[in-house]
């Protein structure tokens, strides 16, 4: 791994860093690039933010659609018909 990575390569490293512990040289290259490049630093930060939002608890009363009436009925029927084991 060369020490000076391009932005494109840096996004690969930043993405991989979200998933595993990078080898030392990659870690240094990533840090170095992020320290100098505002765009990539924002990208890396947004990956963290994305994860934070996706892993946060779904809000119970948020306004996305819940179960449709028909779906609810289908499930209720299934529950009714389940033989008691």
């Amino acid at each position: 791994m060369k020490w000076m990575t391009t932005c494109k390569e840096t996004t690969e490293l930043a993405s991989r860093a979200m998933d595993e512990h990078l080898p030392f040289a990659d870690r240094v290259a990533l840090k170095l690039h992020l320290a100098m490049c505002k765009n990539c630093a924002r990208f890396a930060q947004q990956l963290q933010e994305m994860r934070l939002q996706f892993r946060s608890e779904t809000v119970a009363d948020d306004d996305t659609p819940g179960l449709a009436q028909e779906a609810r009925q289908r499930i209720a029927n299934k529950l009714q018909n389940k033989p008691n084991s």
Binding site: T6, E9, T11, L47, L67, K78, L79
Partner: protein
């Protein structure tokens, strides 16, 4: 009495469970299946429910497993692309020399609950638009919190394929958020 409880769970927590499932499965149908399987499983397992956790927490725990099951099942039906699909989309974000083609704009700080819910809605919307192979790997990793090693094994893909799919998915997600106006205008 059993079915009565399950009916109460459905009434009280059905919408919540559905929303949680919908966010990870990107499909109303699959989310409905996951909720149904969760309640059926809960019915069978209710003897083991100690009452320490709230019913919602308990049901959500079961749901998590059902969601992963659904994703696994749907993965078998979708071809994981091993070719260069999505490569051009990635290339278009960068100049020839590897620099960003466009500046990366900050998202701004979502302080209020409204801004936060706007961000989440847009994230969900964008995740729904990911190509199926990317959506599955991305959801298992980012929403489900599975380790990449586990994901590779489940999907039968190499770690390299996994990283490539995740990298593309993340670039796409960021791009999609920006295109949907989730960036501070003029702050580049």
């Amino acid at each position: 009495m059993n079915t009565l409880d399950a009916q109460t769970w459905l009434d009280d927590h059905g919408d919540y469970l559905f929303r949680v499932a919908r966010r990870q499965l990107h499909s109303d149908e699959l989310a409905e299946d996951a909720v149904q399987e969760t309640l059926l499983a809960a019915l069978t397992a209710q003897a083991r429910y100690s009452g320490d956790a709230s019913p919602r927490t308990w049901l959500t725990g079961i749901l998590k497993h059902k969601i992963v099951d659904q994703i696994r099942r749907s993965v078998r039906e979708v071809e994981i692309p091993r070719d260069h699909e999505g490569m051009e989309a990635v290339d278009s974000l960068f100049k020839q020399d590897g620099h960003w083609a466009e500046p990366v704009r900050p998202w701004g700080d979502p302080h209020s609950e409204a801004e936060l819910s706007q961000l989440r809605r847009t994230l969900d919307l964008c995740a729904d638009r990911l190509k199926p192979s990317m959506a599955q790997v991305f959801s298992l990793r980012e929403v489900g919190g599975m380790e990449t090693e586990e994901i590779c094994k489940e999907l039968g893909i190499t770690p390299t394929n996994c990283w490539v799919l995740l990298h593309r998915a993340r670039l796409f997600m960021r791009q999609c958020l920006e295109l949907n106006g989730f960036s501070k205008a003029g702050a580049a």
